[in-house]
Amino acid sequence: MSLSLWIAMIIAALGTYLLRLLPLLWIQRRLTRTDDDGPVDALPKWLVILGPMMIAAVLGVSLVPRTADVPGWLATVIGLGVTLAVWRRTRSLGWPVVAGVFTFGLMVVATRMVV
């Protein structure tokens, strides 16, 4: 990379870091000022609602399988079903994901052999 390219990369990196850091510094100051209300109450309501929505959006974006054909979609639906079923039994983070990935893999292989 040329020097100008390195500088561009560093500006992009620094800018991305500041996008993550500056809102923290802002809200920490706000939380310190309104400490009596309790931390969650001190957050703006829209922000409290936006948090879970961002997670739901990341889920929606990640749902599309690498190969978006019938076997891929079928494996996605069944894999999510198994993930959900295991979560309802275990209420843990790890096992539902392991079971979901395993089922998804099996379904991809199985449906490709049939379809």
Partner: protein, 245 residues
């Protein structure tokens, strides 16, 4: 409030590492792809690693190397990279109420990606305050190092890997939707929340299918929040395990 002692932080970092393991299924295949594309675009292995370590934001890295390779002006490349990453501004404020005072947070914010945020937003409220810095360090460090390692692997052996184990690259990324599903399900605590979250997921999915992945996350989240404010469905009490409002 005093800083959390290092000895108390250390008890949480292993939990953070363990709980961030599912992220590897999504991070490594995507990082391998990035490493491969970056070297194909003319970047050296060291340059690829520098981009992954310093920018550390998946979609914008692909855009960065793609725009550079196509000869776009540098200012436009930087502007577009930052525009994609603007969504990060809502992450830290959302987890801030569960961040005990510590001088480490400013440094740890480099690791606040979409996925680490989703994990932290669900897990931090459930952890004792004394373990949160350690937990975040463990989770964020594992994610960051796996992203760098995946980029290295992709840069030096990406072509060989993708041709030898194509199925692995297709199956492992499913760890991400599976993890996010587990993180979001406890939030379906009422019909109002279910409707808003459902709208968000559907719009994000549609955006991805129509090639608008980058704008999909903030757009879908904004639509979901709007839906939450506009509809007035009866609040049905449900399981609130690990969840906030």
């Amino acid at each position: 409030m005093s800083d959390i002692e290092p000895s108390r932080q250390s008890s949480g970092w292993l939990t953070g590492v363990r709980e961030a393991m599912p992220l590897l299924g999504g991070y490594i295949p995507v990082a391998v792809s990035f490493g491969l594309i970056s070297t194909q675009a003319g970047f050296s292995t060291a340059e690829t690693l520098a981009i992954s370590a310093l920018i550390y934001a998946g979609a914008s890295q692909f855009l960065f190397v793609g725009m550079i390779a196509s000869g776009s002006p540098l200012w436009l490349t930087v502007a577009m990279t930052l525009l994609i990453n603007v969504r990060h501004v809502v992450y830290a404020p959302n987890i801030a109420p569960w961040l005990p005072q510590s001088r480490w947070w400013p440094w740890l914010m480099h690791g606040l990606t979409d996925q680490v945020f989703a994990l932290a937003h669900s897990r931090l409220p459930q952890l004792p305050a004394s373990r949160r810095v350690g937990w975040f360090f463990g989770a964020a460090m594992l994610a960051w190092l796996s992203w760098i390692a995946g980029s290295l692997l992709g840069a030096v052996a990406g072509e060989w890997l993708t041709s030898r184990w194509p199925l692995l690259g297709e199956v492992m990324p499913f760890a991400l939707p599976a993890l996010f599903l587990v993180l979001i399900v406890p939030r379906f605590t009422s019909r109002r929340w279910a409707a808003a979250l459902g709208v968000t997921i559907a719009i994000a999915l549609l955006c991805t299918l129509t090639g608008l992945t980058n704008i999909g996350i903030p757009l879908a989240a904004a639509c979901g929040a709007l839906c939450f404010y506009m509809i007035r469905l009866p609040e049905t009490a449900g399981p609130t395990r690990g969840g906030r409002p």
